[in-house]
Symmetry: C2
Subunit: 338 residues, 2 copies
């Protein structure tokens, strides 16, 4: 039994609404929400109804298409664009998609929607190409440790890190995935486990604190994660916890791979030092699956992302090729080919 490909962000041309698979409710419930304004899309992005750098870029593009198709004028479109960019600061795909769609405002609603569709289609195609290019990096019968969700749910479809997993699995690699649960939002436990199980790919859940010990025991072939922004020098911002996995990988000589489309590479950001790291509300840590787990009045930190220095990254897989150390040079030549 083969299910249709998973696409978490859709545009309904009959009603001019953005439809999002509500990622806060997975895996318990598959509920779609329909949004009729850019403001609602921005709020859905901030509230994590949709998350994942490429997916929020796609959603933002469609948010502008909704406005254009419902007759918004230039002022309103520009205000919508600003609201979307402000909704989350770290992932660069958001600003990139908004900038790209904004370039079509003067061409009229049909052109705006066409551009938003193009972003979605290109992202899914990029994921499939990343999958093809990255699959050979995985050894036979690989045990792939991943963090957060860099899957179909984080993109237009197919996924970046999980795109590589899918491509390798489909080409016969008898692999299995260790999904780090990824506190506090539990993207690994809720989303990665769900979409891999849906596709019949073997997945085992671990708590984030187990990763180092399993590496030490020789139970991890490689680490494979996505990215929210890659600086010009190759530093990688990704979900909090990624940096620790990179240090642990280096200590245990386990390859550490990053998979991301070129829309995630931000040449205007020189290094990781310049990437804004979103600090979210500590309540998202003290509440666990809706229940309070810490005593009232105890504060929590929640830096939502961290930055892995380029020297800890074995390779970055993009849709245009695999970049190895020194990442800086490889990224420059790939992007120069644009």
């Amino acid at each position: 039994m083969s299910l249709p490909p998973l696409r978490p962000v859709l545009y309904d041309e009959a009603t001019d609404e953005v439809r999002l698979l509500d990622q806060r409710r997975l895996p318990g419930e598959e509920r779609w929400v329909a949004l009729g304004s850019a403001r609602d899309v921005a709020k859905a992005i901030a509230d994590l109804v949709v998350r994942g750098a490429p997916a929020i870029g796609v959603a933002a593009g469609y948010g502008l298409a909704v406005e254009a198709r419902r007759g918004a004028g230039p002022d309103r479109l520009r205000e919508s664009a600003r609201a979307l960019v402000r909704s989350r600061p770290t992932a660069v795909n958001l600003a990139w998609a908004v900038l790209r769609v904004s370039g079509t405002f003067h061409l009229g609603p049909a052109a705006v929607l066409k551009e938003a569709h193009a972003i979605r289609d290109e992202d899914e195609a990029a994921c499939r190409r990343i999958g093809e290019l990255g699959a050979p990096l995985l050894p036979p019968r690989a045990t792939v440790l991943t963090h957060c969700n860099a899957g179909a749910l984080a993109t237009a479809g197919y996924g970046t890190a999980l795109g590589i997993v899918r491509a390798a699995f489909q080409s016969g690699n008898d692999l299995r995935v260790l999904a780090g649960e990824t506190r506090p939002f539990l993207q690994g436990a809720r989303l990665t486990a769900w979409e891999l199980k849906r596709d019949g790919i073997p997945v085992t859940l671990i708590s984030d604190g187990m990763a180092g010990w399993l590496m030490k025991k020789g139970e991890v072939s490689c680490v494979l994660v996505g990215a929210d922004r890659i600086a010009k020098n190759g530093d990688v911002a990704n979900k909090i916890g990624t940096y620790a996995l990179a240090v642990l990988s280096a200590h245990h000589q386990v390859p550490f791979y990053v998979a991301a489309p070129l829309s995630t590479v931000d040449l205007a950001t020189e290094s990781g030092e310049d990437i804004p790291i979103e600090e979210r509300d500590g309540e998202e840590v003290t509440l666990f699956a809706g229940q309070r787990i810490a005593p009232l009045g105890v504060p929590a930190r929640y830096p939502a992302f961290d930055v892995t220095p380029a020297e800890l990254v074995t390779a970055i897989v993009t849709e245009r090729g695999v970049v190895r150390s020194p990442l800086c040079e490889g990224l420059s030549s790939l992007t120069a080919a644009t």
Copy 2:
């Protein structure tokens, strides 16, 4: 306002019951359970009503006292001792306490209870001495990262790692604690945060995946954890996630301290390779308080402990002194002084 010292394991001589503060229900509810047999105590240990290496040793001693005082004969006492030792495999304090109390079976019920009381009293005294000896290790205005709960709740009272925190705080160190939440059982979020808040010591909660990034940002002065078993060579078994913190500490040149009474040192175990690591049910990862966080049918790993090699440990603080590298020699000379 000063609360009475927190002691999670008590013996009620009026009813001959072991009273345990139910650590599964904290911080939401302070509920005590009363147990009238060694079998019930063994089950409470296995079910994590009481946890922490020294605390389960104290509880096991009292479990035998209940049996002796209620008239159990030698066979039943020996069977109870075996059941208690089997309840959890990694913490050596459990077997150590059972062996010690078993040596008094031939002296009658009063002697058995007296020995069990002695274990409790000595453990709390050891914690207070560990606190005094360890407090000078913390720099002024330290930010101390801890993992799991090595506090009053994990001991007869006062705590090992948190004993050092308490002693330093009481001596005027304007410190604060970062409590790693410690998935899956959330001892950090639920227990460490609760007991530190109770004592007015500043504590901030973090997810386990944040520790490395905060070290990188220079926000951690030292790591301070307890232990479930320390091998002759200085390898330290402790709650899963400890090993990763040790690797991250070494990478960032952050001191990594272990606090434990000598009852945790097991000279019969040559190295960490020989320490049995308990594998608990993966459902404890996929379920939280009855709520499923991963899709049905997705398995989880749950090694409950890991082993930190001696070379990653800056020092071990015991009640008889601070042992620095090479740990093997220091531990030998301390224990030889017995």
